[in-house]
Subunit: 364 residues, 2 copies
């Protein structure tokens, strides 16, 4: 199967072998060694000296972890959204009692740093800024470097970044850009199954975390930091995913960080060009088109659900539809993790053939 959704991504054979390794004790020197190696390698890909924590959960659980450790009920929070996952970050902060100022940009567009600047000046008491690096639902990569600069210039707020579909595939130098909390998800560029999140926590963030009063237990960063310092975890972690991540990070180191970023940029550009050459329109603003996912508009009049069904059942290619308001408007092609131009060619060729098949039936 050519699994071309923006996560879960295909798992390479070496990693699948690691998943099938015999189980071990999670409180053992063997586990501690694996965890230490993973942390060291993740710091390399996060480009950070900050603390690196892992939690057993979905990406949304990681987003909740970021919120409950940094806010207190009533805290003014700025939630910048360019799509479904930006909205979700805001919803989580609201659920835990933050006073959420929502700054929404049109779907398909990136966040504008100067509008963020104006908003921060308007609300100088903002304590935490939540932002998405790469918005999976619209195939947009926000200008995080510029956003981070504006946040630092205009406020003392923590900058908390959902980089789930960016980190490991798109350049995100956490320390250089001053990201306080950066969140990644296992099933994206890391080429392993879903179930783990990885995140970095800055010294500035730890100061806020020490004072934050949102209720937390399972996702408590302090508990996790203290346990990891002893080579453990507070609760039984997804041990099999640690085996897998260890193997995947070795593959990633072998390829090299800069090479991985370059490959994602190259494959993404290839996907966009190839889609256009087949007469498909791109959805997202080309100036901020994502290197990990491409969204194309549904051709006018097509039975888009049937298109995806034929693609899946007759061509063995799986792409993702649009979410929420984009359900009937776009298709999304994932190209992160274990992916090359050839995978994209196979995907787009099949999309083209399936499209003609669906349209012929419609006009027959």
């Amino acid at each position: 199967m050519n699994l071309r959704i923006p996560g879960p991504t295909p798992v390479p054979p070496q990693v699948r072998d690691a998943l099938a390794l015999p189980m071990i004790n999670h409180r053992s020197p063997q586990f501690a060694a694996i965890q230490a190696r993973i942390v060291e390698n993740l710091k390399h890909f996060f480009q950070t000296q900050n603390d690196l924590l892992l939690f057993t959960c979905s990406g949304t659980g990681g987003m909740e972890a970021c919120v409950v450790n940094t806010i207190s009920p009533g805290d003014p929070v700025l939630a910048i959204s360019v799509g479904v996952f930006g909205d979700r970050f805001a919803d989580i902060a609201h659920a835990f009692g933050a006073h959420v100022n929502r700054l929404n940009f049109t779907w398909g567009q990136a966040a504008d740093p100067e509008i963020i600047r104006a908003k921060l000046r308007e609300h100088p008491n903002i304590r935490v800024v939540l932002v998405t690096h790469n918005e999976t639902s619209t195939a947009i990569t926000n200008p995080l470097r510029e956003i981070a600069r504006v946040v630092r210039e205009e406020s003392d707020a923590l900058l908390v970044v959902d980089a789930i579909s960016a980190l490991g595939a798109i350049d995100l130098p956490v320390d250089d850009w001053g990201i306080d909390v950066a969140l990644a998800g296992s099933q994206k560029s890391w080429m392993i199954p879903p179930g783990l999140v990885m995140l970095s926590v800055s010294a500035r963030a730890w100061n806020v975390i020490a004072q934050a009063r949102a209720p937390r237990f399972y996702f408590d960063f302090r508990k996790m930091r203290d346990a990891m310092a002893k080579g453990e975890t507070p609760a039984t972690p997804a041990v099999g995913l640690y085996f897998a991540l260890d193997a995947a990070l070795q593959m990633m180191k072998d390829e090299g960080r800069a090479n991985i970023f370059a490959r994602h940029a190259r494959v993404a550009q290839h996907a966009r060009h190839r889609a256009q050459s087949l007469g498909l329109e791109l959805f997202a603003d080309p100036a901020f088109a994502s290197n990990t996912v491409t969204a194309i508009n549904n051709p006018p009049g097509i039975d888009f659900k049937k298109w995806r069904k034929v693609l899946r059942e007759e061509f063995n290619v799986v792409i993702a539809g649009g979410q929420k308001d984009l359900t009937d408007k776009i298709q999304r092609i994932g190209h992160l993790g274990w992916v090359t131009e050839a995978d994209i060619d196979a995907c787009l060729d099949a999309m083209d053939a399936a499209r003609r098949q669906v349209e012929q039936v419609a006009y027959a």
Copy 2:
């Protein structure tokens, strides 16, 4: 390696093969079919018609899910504890703002239903009762049937049960006993790696959940129920563990529920007898000795850390030490999931040989 800890438990070859299957889309007919089959089979092992939900997290995350869906800040909660995990349940309820009445029994003893009755009469406003079915830290199985009867006779409180190290190995007829929420963990009797929890929710519980005001998002039972009704999940689930659970449940169905319970009872009794025949003392009250884990007292004067180290490094057998106040007092042997008498013999023979080796060195 003979992994004889009370979770994670050894993963059989069929299940390891399933873990290595290629990744799929979590929003697809294929995933929906797997999830539906898992739910149906889990209901059989939970002996329930209640709703069955799965969450991607550790067991502790599942405990938090049980708490945040059933309590409101300030709610009087009765937390019955006979060890580390009972205490943890109480701590989580406290963290989320419940007014926690802690009823602690001596470690190594079971909870006494009549003392619970007195406590419920003393506090007639209790809204939720938290209790551990099988306490992994002390190798005790609480008399849950009797406890459930007392709770029903004396109050309208919800009965929320951490059955993480019991369900699937020890008889727990959820509907017959009137358990409102029963929680299981993947890495125990289900023979798959850690990272998933499974839980049942009664109609009575849903009424309370609809009113409960503790903050929640990732662990929201309502979101999960609604998504699962459509064959989906609210966030990307640990898809690989679903493959594994599907395979493991097929193995369990092939063996048969009653046969599995009988095997666990037989293997546990074998473990206790064999340990005693080797001159080892049992820690837990024999009247409530667990069928999934056995605790033995450290022989007087032994260097217990060295004992476990020699066992691990020279005999390739891994057991668990004591937790918290029991750290220097006991060793624990897990016998749940994929286990037979032969595994216990190998473990105890090695423990005996390693003990003599450690004691000889000490006296040399």
